[in-house]
Subunit: 586 residues, 2 copies
């Protein structure tokens, strides 16, 4: 009877006692593979030997950390290919790989962060600081801890073309983007965060590969034409040779969680992971994450970006689900955004009623089976038993909601401080897990436009034209699509760190309130016209939001005003809630 | 806040008190729709009025049962379209529809058949008898009852082109194929079966539409390019307008189960029902079937043809599954077939070991995660808790396993009676639900080749060439691909009813044994070399199969030989099991 396809480690393996090491590649496609070890002026070749199931392994060779290497395919020496499992590409996607040995993870007293204790902060390393490196980001950790952040979500670190990228054009998922520093820097960054009680999770992309420098198809059938996604042929999770492909990505899971000792993954657009097999790939990811967490005695989280309102992703594996710890809930954002901005274009046509935000506060999802005019179909389903509010990750903005606007303009400029703080209060004191997009907490005014740095002219042209086409209807006098390829566009996205103290103080106090209360079990939401009130965290305080243009006076059973925006006051059990005002009372 | 897309009845609605009735069509695509009522020499037009959500409804009109009708689209009178919800097409797929009123279902004392009491018999109405009609099939019901059959699975009844078809080229799922009789005949056939204690389930196709006479795309977006199947664009279950499409198919579920009072559905190739929404279409089907069964106080079953070894289809909806009552288990067949025939081509390359059949007897599935050489990936998953053996439907042959061979040759001719009875004993006395393919029980020798009766020359040519290409490697002296379009091919598939008494008696006794024992809870399977023994149904008897060329003598703790093939004997606790022999002992 047949065995299972073996899941084996890839790339440069751990050194043997004599200091030598083997290299393994999964490469069922090429006829032959030569490992090429590079020195400054020479190279040595080692023919890789078949191990079965499409795996190839080298003899033990002297290749200490720092060795540069690559592969020749099919006996041809005209092109040196990077290692598909490369951990570092000192000269970018098209260049050679470098052998990286990272120190063991030894975080004393660190046990991770479950989502119900998480306040997530999403950051892009290249624009978070002027230098755009891990070393520079490390200097901001004390600030983040003091703010109340307990979990960093780092936008993708995988190797993309060029020197700047949002990260979603990755082609070598395990290679740390050389523009941000070296693997050792990120390893140290995580330790520094842990020392401050902050977990670090990594944004990973398992649904597509970037358009430039993707050499994986020369090694293995990474794509399948059985399914398609917005990026073309889908990643092969259920067609012939899918297990080698799965092993390839699961090795990436291991790298971040075991080797770097990160605390979890944010998995990009899981609805584009097309898998009809009996074991959905995400079940394998969550099971592996759980195993690693159990073995190391710490909490590891997996957060899916999911556009389906399908509880299956969040449900435990025992209950037939995929076992994700959490998911991004775009609908909570859309419901708030439509109210605060009055925008009704595109998918915002499905939103704009206060009742929808109240519903989002109850269920996380807005659409739980109702007809969506934008999608032109009944959409979604109630989360159902077994799913907790902490599994819903909510936000006032994120890289997508900002960056996918024509000019990448942030919310604050469009709506003003009062509405901004109403939105902030709503999601920071919601029963869900809040995610702050870097700079949002102090009212950053710099935009976060889409930027790339490709090397191929045709691709650059296509990206420029694609953006122009997408926003054709939005271009008006004085407003245009920033050139995604221009360095200036990238530079414009860097945080200014010009802090609006009123906003920063509001965020600090909201997060303090949140952290001071115990994890809540249930929520009670009332909505009447523009007013929504909800009791959270076991009723220790009540939040009130006025999503209308008229001031409201409300009789309340409370005498303490814990947090207020827009001049809300509480006297003699009367809460004066100005237009678009927010208050937390007890 | 939005409502849910409404699921409404389609076609000619029930008559109102004055005898008139309205017609409803879901047709979001055409600009206008006219209901056309036909008389022998005239026609009257009634403009259909929008009801919202793409539904259109007529004024009440005089249209008693028997009225012929159709629709003009977009004000054009050059083509009369059949009703997408047509129940009958007296002159075929391209012609007008007929208003059908069926009598209410009143089956006294009939409560349906759960799968653990089912012995299924698959029949194709057109070839089951010389006349090829329901009326003729009805005359065989006593024979089937006496054989031990408790459930008929009728190959698809939907309207296809021409006068003969396997049924999988249907284009009007609710129209009863005119070659078999009228709807009233099938309604009566079900009653006649119920009177004999036999349930009737219908083979339905929700994953594709036939190549000729499909006018549905003129009415609504029945396909989506989001997903593809072997037949092209997938049926639209999760794209814009999917709910109207779902309602259209769910109306078909209601027709068979409520209006005809059938006992269940066998759902064709569910792995080709592509649905990424939060509510999989099959969950809606099983939930609807359960509601109908509950309302009418009878058992209704849903059996999926599924090629995924994915327990999700069988798991209850509460446990996150799709709630199918059962599924066809091709792998049980393949494991037996490869042993009995020695065939190793195509998907049989994954089979051929006795251990695999033993595994199938334990789990239903053979591949529960192991590497499949044919699929080139790890395949399947253990059924897991909550799934019962009766949910697995197994067979020695079925229309596909016979008909998808070049000449449609049945198993018996290839392997001889001894091996045939070994296979029969194995699956009939397995813990699973057996399915007999018509004629198999008495050793029918006529083939069951693939046949069609299209009207379009290009299509006929394409089908002929497709078959020739598929079997190019199999054509040898004296063996060729029967012409699928030829009437002779269809006629050659009709049962001869020439009965081999030895085979028929074996089937009768095996089914008698099966029915005499209580439903079993667990199975114990032992395998050693070519011998498999298993205790079934609470250990009331033990089955023994010798899947090898050598006779075996086995010491057993039994003194009664209940069923034997190939001259097996039991004396003094010694079971003599000849090569390829089968015995059931107690």
């Amino acid at each position: 009877m047949n065995d299972t396809f073996p899941y084996l480690p890839l790339g440069p393996l751990s050194a043997e006692p004599d200091g030598n090491r083997r290299f393994r590649v999964w490469a069922p496609l090429p006829k032959s593979l030569d490992l090429v070890l590079l020195t400054d002026d020479d190279q040595t070749l080692h023919r890789m030997q078949p191990e079965g199931n499409g795996y190839l392994i080298s003899e033990p060779v002297a290749a200490p950390a720092g060795t540069r290497y690559g592969f020749y395919l099919n006996g041809k020496r005209d092109k040196l290919y990077p290692d598909p499992a490369s951990r570092y590409q000192p000269s970018g996607v098209h260049g050679e790989s470098e052998v990286i040995d990272l120190p063991p993870v030894a975080d004393e007293d660190w046990s991770g962060k479950p989502l119900h204790e998480a306040v997530i902060y999403e950051l892009h390393v290249g624009t978070f600081t002027e230098a755009g490196t891990f070393a520079a980001a490390e200097e901001r950790l004390d600030y983040l801890r003091d703010l109340g952040v307990t979990m960093l979500e780092i936008m993708p670190l995988n190797q993309t073309s060029g020197e700047r990228n949002w990260g979603y054009d990755g082609v070598l998922p395990s290679a740390l983007f050389q523009a941000y520093g070296r693997p050792e820097d990120f390893h140290r960054f995580i330790r520094a965060a842990h020392e401050r009680g902050i977990a670090v999770i990594v944004d990973v992309i398992y649904n597509h590969l970037g358009p430039e420098g993707n050499y994986l198809p020369s090694f293995f059938p990474v794509f399948t034409e059985k399914h398609h996604t917005p990026w073309g042929a889908a990643i092969n999770f259920d067609d012939a040779h899918a297990d080698g492909v799965r092993n390839y990505w699961l090795e990436n899971v291991r790298l971040w969680l075991e080797t770097y000792g990160a605390d979890g993954l944010r998995i990009d657009a899981v609805h584009a992971i097309k898998d009809y097999s009996a074991n959905h790939f995400l079940e394998e990811v969550s099971a592996l994450a759980d195993r690693i967490g159990k073995a190391q005695g710490r909490t590891i989280v997996t957060i899916a970006e999911c556009d389906l309102n399908a509880p299956r992703y969040l449900q435990s594996r025992k209950r037939g689900g995929y076992g994700m710890s959490g998911q991004w809930v775009d609908e909570f954002h859309h419901a708030m955004h439509a109210l605060l901005t009055g925008e009704v274009r595109g998918y915002y046509e499905d939103f704009g009623e206060v009742e929808q935000l109240a519903r989002a506060l109850k269920d996380g999802y807005v659409y739980t089976g109702q007809y969506s005019p934008h999608r032109k179909r009944n959409f979604g389903r109630k989360p159902g038993p077994g799913i907790t509010p902490a599994q819903m990750v909510v936000f006032l903005q994120n890289h997508d909601q900002v960056g996918n606007r024509m000019e990448g303009d942030r919310l604050l400029g469009g709506i003003g401080v009062d509405k901004y703080l109403l939105g902030a209060g709503t999601y920071l004191l919601s029963p869900f897990t809040p995610l702050i997009f870097m700079g949002e907490e102090y009212g950053e005014e710099n935009p976060f436009p889409y930027f790339v740095h490709h090397g191929e002219e045709a691709l650059i042209k296509a990206v420029r034209e694609g953006r122009a086409r997408e926003f054709a209807a939005f271009q008006t006098e004085g407003h245009h699509v920033p050139d995604p390829q221009a360095e200036e566009t990238f530079r414009s996205a860097k945080l200014s760190w010009k802090q609006d103290d009123r906003i920063l103080e509001f965020y600090r106090r909201a997060l303090h309130l949140r952290s001071a209360a115990p994890a809540f079990a249930d929520i009670s939401v009332d909505q009447s016209g523009p007013l929504i009130t909800w009791s959270i965290r076991g009723g220790k305080y009540t939040a009130c939001g006025n999503y209308g243009d008229e001031a409201l006076t409300i009789e309340v059973d409370a005498d303490e005003l814990l947090l207020a925006s827009n001049g809300a006051t509480l006297e003699n059990n009367l809460l004066q809630l100005p237009a678009w005002g927010f208050a937390a009372i007890a």
